[in-house]
Amino acid sequence: MSTRHHVVIGSGVAGNQAAETLRQRDPDSRITMITISRLPFFNRYDLPRVFYGARDWRRFIIYPAEYYRENRINLRRATRVVSVDSASQIIKLEHKESIRFDSLLVASGAGAYLPEDLSEFRPLMHGFGAYREAVTVAEALPKAGHAIMLGGDTIGLDLARTLLDTGHRVTLVAGPYTFWPHEVAEKDRPKFIEALTKMGIVVVEQQERGGIASIETGAKGLAARKLTFHDGSELAGDVVMPFYGVMPSLDFMLGSGVDIERGLLVSPNLRTTNENIYAAGDVCQIWTDKEHKYCFYHGWKNVRAMGELAAKNITGADEPWVPTQDETLRLTKEGKIESPFWEYQ
């Protein structure tokens, strides 16, 4: 009987897929899943549905509490990991508890990246990564309200489709992140921008206006937010939402002894530089022999496959990572943008 203690940090797609695979391959082990989220595994990709009136958090839950009980996964919600000691295989939690692990899978995902030059305006912006944030945006946006999206990225553009569909106006301040994580050639960019315009999005090129100078609260009786560009032009909207891609959530791994660049550096079998620690999902940079560099892989399908692979390798396999998702941004015959990252149903 295995008495190994597998600890998974993160309860997103990668973490849950890994826990499921660990339970199948190592039935008698202990599995602990630690998440900072108050909600159990919820469907982040479904959050735009709050604009169709879905405001009950239960609507978004994928696995109920019973699932974790039945599978003997000890789910620790609303729990913050503050450090990991890879040498002594101990995780420290914010409330001073220490947890020893035999294997650790870091699947803590990534949070929205906000460029440093906009950080001082953070309190005036609305995020969209968690259920509570989604509800807050829905409440802040009046009927036929105006959302200003900064950056773009595929998460933002997905939300823009919903906002337009529900009768809201969307202005996109476009820049290098507009189609992130897709890599769009400079020559192809105009046709994708045109497709956004056809969708009904008002596109403003940030560079043409010299960048964003400030975001302020709107005057009484006017829209809630005023955005000013360096060329002096202004935009008024009910919410300002930044979409500049994501940044790995791995503060707790700093000083752990595991190698980090922007994400946790892992070999093709998803193992970090410590033999007992693996990583999966948006938090890791995977070495690719073909390209000779460490790469991030995003998207629901990739992340789920990473969770499964990491769990397999933790339990004795030694298989390399193979991307599972097409990452090409496409235009349909009707001229609509289609991103494979939106195929999460």
Binding site: E116, D117, L254, D259, R262, T273, H292, K293, Y294
Partner: protein
């Protein structure tokens, strides 16, 4: 080669008012404060894509997080895990890019830094219009023909009295320690001045002493532990990147500075319990926010008869004394305030100098 600058020369030229220009895409190679300064100056000179290329990753470079954050706010990007291999030149001999090799992290270097190992066959080119190389500096000896003994880093080697291998020739600052900060150089200069004085006089003019004086009451409150670090105000982003003369850190106002100063632990204050008067009521132990007050059972005595560490005990029948561990003490004054017989004293200990009579 056109389009290639050396970091320190670039900064010194700027400081001296030499007119400099950079291209739209600027590649800065290096991982220290000089590299960061070069990148931020390049932004002010109109560089639109300014990137610092480093061998390891942000976690291991010797720059403070605040500096990195401010540089990023100004638009500087940092790209890691790459070693420069060669410059790429266009047909006119002007730099058009830098060829890098992808790195992996290797073992550890002193000071918590990492070794970067280039991966064979992983070379790639980053296009750029200007390259600023800021990968370290060497001590300059050309101004002197004195045959000084140097250490393995080619810096002047000093004897204990601060003198070089040439009698009567002293050295200080970067010439001895290699590239460091102005603060360290000034400190070294002051120490060396005293050594020169001692050498000229033939004896020490001063000797160090500790001045101890009583303090009437605690000078710090427990609440000060919960004051967050006060942020240094900075100039508006739009204003600062358009000017080479605009100070970035604008300084704290009086109220903010006072709040920040309250966070000081006042380590020069020493709390002591007079064990002859103490009634061992435990009140001080109960109010102490940390394990700073200890019950002592005995003292380690070395083979040569010297006193060693204090031996703690939790058994009351073995307690020989009660003691405040000033390394743990946060000078909150809780013990002083609660003591029913006022057997706790506070003293201020300051290092000072006294004149030595001839």
């Amino acid at each position: 080669m056109a389009g290639i600058e050396f970091g320190l020369d670039f900064l010194v030229d700027m400081h001296r008012g030499v007119k400099k220009t950079v291209g739209k895409r600027v590649a800065v190679i290096g991982a220290g404060f000089t590299a960061l300064d070069c990148a931020r100056v390049a932004v002010r000179l109109g560089g639109e894509e300014v990137t610092i290329h480093i061998r390891t990753s942000e976690e291991y470079i010797p720059i403070t997080q605040e500096e990195i954050f401010e540089a990023k706010r100004e638009g500087v990007r940092i790209k890691g895990l790459r070693s420069p291999m060669k410059f790429v030149l266009d047909e006119e001999g002007k730099v058009s890019g830098v060829e890098f090799a992808q790195n992996r992290l290797g073992g550890w270097r002193e000071g918590g830094r990492r070794i970067a190992i280039p991966i064979e066959g992983s070379e790639f080119v980053e296009p750029c219009d200007t390259v600023i190389v800021a990968i370290g500096q060497q001590t300059v000896h050309e101004f002197s023909d004195l045959p000084l003994q140097l250490d393995k880093w080619k810096n002047a080697r000093l004897s204990d009295n601060g003198m070089t291998s040439q009698p009567g020739v002293f050295a200080a600052g970067d010439y001895v320690s290699g590239a460091s900060t102005v603060v360290q150089a000034v400190g070294h200069g002051r120490k060396l001045a005293r050594r020169i004085d001692t050498w000229l006089l033939g004896r020490d003019r001063h000797r160090q002493a500790v001045r101890i004086e009583p303090v009437e009451r605690p000078l710090r409150e427990r609440a000060s532990d919960f004051i967050p670090r006060q942020h240094m105000p900075t100039a508006k982003l739009g204003k600062r990147v358009k000017s080479l003369a605009c100070e970035v850190e604008t300084g704290m106002d009086l109220a903010t500075a006072q709040e920040e100063a309250k966070r000081c632990y006042l380590c020069h204050l020493r709390y002591q319990i007079d064990v002859d008067r103490c009634i061992y009521c435990r009140a001080c132990i109960e109010v102490a926010p940390r394990s700073c007050i200890k019950l002592v059972g005995g003292v380690e005595i070395g083979a040569d008869g010297t006193y060693g560490k204090l031996q703690e005990t939790k058994e009351w029948n073995k307690v020989g004394a009660i003691w405040i561990d000033n390394n743990e003490c946060i000078r909150c004054g809780a013990c002083y305030n609660v003591c029913p017989i006022k057997c706790i004293t506070i003293s201020r200990c300051e290092l000072t100098e006294v004149e030595v009579e001839a």
